[in-house]
Symmetry: C2
Subunit: 319 residues, 2 copies
């Protein structure tokens, strides 16, 4: 079974009717499994997690671009999360029977077809990047939809597919291939962005922290508290518990409580087991040889304060 | 005042008579301030911290090479710490009125004179490295004295000064320029090297940890416990308290107590203040506008469990 994960992010997280119309295309697809999707009103963005055959995946992505082109006008869009396209980013992730190199080829094919069909410029990023300066999606996206209008005309920022002009309502897209990453957010009981930022800086690579952590502060208007929002690019070398505990340690100096944490999208079972082993060992408990998904869910809620989490977020549930 | 720090490490930490004869040369020098020296029997190594004018510093270093040539035969040396020379490493560190670039030039001059005078091959490392593969001293030193006999003959490992042959009793030296670093060790109440190594891996850059930390495990025969031994290359981005607390957090899963920590050589006052501010804030205490060196010493003993520490290890004491 040839299986890739694909996690397109589209720039609508508030208008339920629009979200429904876009997701109906995804739900109607007979070949691709919709693992999960989450709309965030603060971010004004929806993260869609898909599993399936890579060629069938590209077919669905093209349909998603089509519907987003009709539904979303970035000139009218605002939200906490940086974005440059109505579909902002399309990563291909090898899961089973597919190599990273093949995922690069699929991302190239996908970008080429999107551009050919809809005249939307595409940038290849992460494992598919053709320039060092394009490995990091935030570097490409800097300036966002509004800034990309001029930025894309610079010789350094000519898109990998398409002409040097963003689509007037859709913008442009980052298409790439990458290893599995965990999108993880830690809730802080504060509305102060400054200490939240200091805590993010303590853990993220770009400020001297853990090698495989990208993190930043964000204030969630709806929830009335801040988060350290992050990607963990390698959960084996930077396990969830270590990041969670380091954030607790740093939060202490600001007298801020860590009140929860959340996974966006999917996690491998192994990433949770590794963290639970830490807490079991700290408490002098033997770790069971085989822990059920139900027990894993209960334990991560207890020790890592996961909220809005259930078995459907564990990738093994779908394999 | 033009001031550099220089921290030559020589490979004798057990034979007091030899150490005394080597140190008498250093103590007799009228121009260079001996800040501190520490012999470690487990490491079989002495770390000497010097402050002074860079040209006078080179004069003293040449005298030290001369005496070590007479006193130390690496064919008869063993110890916990990796080494490739009777004087193993000579770093020049800008302190005041001297730039990093000038320190590179001083290290080159020093290496050239050592080679010319004593026919000892020298490798330029860190800021003075002429090849990417020589930035890291451990990469150069890999194989140690014994392995360097053959390694130095490989085209990739031709020394920067001298012929491709180590000195038969002295070995070879790494000479370089670098920013101020803190040599810091954390004591674990265990004799088990495996968990000590896992803890070191959690915090060090090379295994995914903090960006400016180089760390490894070591067992101290004399003290009968292990240490996480480390260099902190940037104490502003990776403050001491954060590393200390992360080690405590990781040690918990192995049910190992952190029983102390120690500075080898010197630290800037600022590095201690930064860490004490963390503990004061955690305890809801206001941090005093000006803390005396005595109070700093007492506080780092209390919060960071520093042992064998006093004002003479704070660099501001000498300025």
């Amino acid at each position: 079974m040839r299986l890739v994960e694909c996690v397109p992010n589209f720039s609508e997280g508030r208008d339920q009717a629009k979200i429904d119309r876009i997701m109906s295309i995804v739900k109607a697809d007979k070949f691709i499994k919709l693992v999960n999707f989450e709309s965030d009103a603060d971010y004004n963005r929806t993260v869609v997690t898909l599993l399936g055959d890579p060629d069938k995946m590209i077919d669905l992505i093209l349909n998603m671009v089509n519907v987003c082109l009709n539904e979303i006008d970035l000139n009218k869009h605002s939200g906490e999360h940086a974005r440059m396209g109505a579909i902002d980013v399309i990563p291909f992730i090898p899961i089973s029977g597919v190599t990273m190199k093949e995922c690069v080829a699929y991302s190239e094919k996908c970008a080429e077809l999107i551009n050919k069909t809809y005249d939307i410029p595409c940038f290849l990023y992460a494992g598919a990047a053709r320039f060092d300066s394009r490995v990091s999606l935030p570097s490409i996206r800097k300036g966002e939809f509004e800034g990309m209008k001029e930025k894309i005309k610079e010789p350094d920022w000519k898109p990998d597919f398409g002409k040097a002009e963003i689509h007037p309502t859709f913008g442009c897209i980052g298409v790439g291939a990458r290893d599995f990453l965990i999108a993880y957010n830690i809730d802080l009981k504060t509305d102060r962005e400054k200490p939240t930022k200091s805590i993010a800086r303590a853990i993220r690579k770009s400020s001297g922290g853990y090698q495989f952590v990208q993190a930043g502060p964000v204030y969630l208007e709806n929830r009335k508290h801040t988060q350290v929002t992050m990607n963990i690019l390698n959960y084996k070398k930077n396990p969830i518990y270590r990041i969670f505990e380091t954030v607790k340690m740093e939060a202490k100096r600001y007298n801020i409580d860590v009140i929860g944490s959340e996974i966006v999208g999917l996690v491998p079972k192994d990433s949770l087991i590794r963290s639970l082993k830490y807490y079991y060992a700290c408490n002098g408990l033997d770790f069971p040889v085989d822990m059920s998904l139900t027990d894993i869910v209960n334990n991560v809620k207890k020790y890592l304060l996961f909220r809005d989490f259930d078995e459907s977020k564990i990738i093994e549930n779908f394999l």
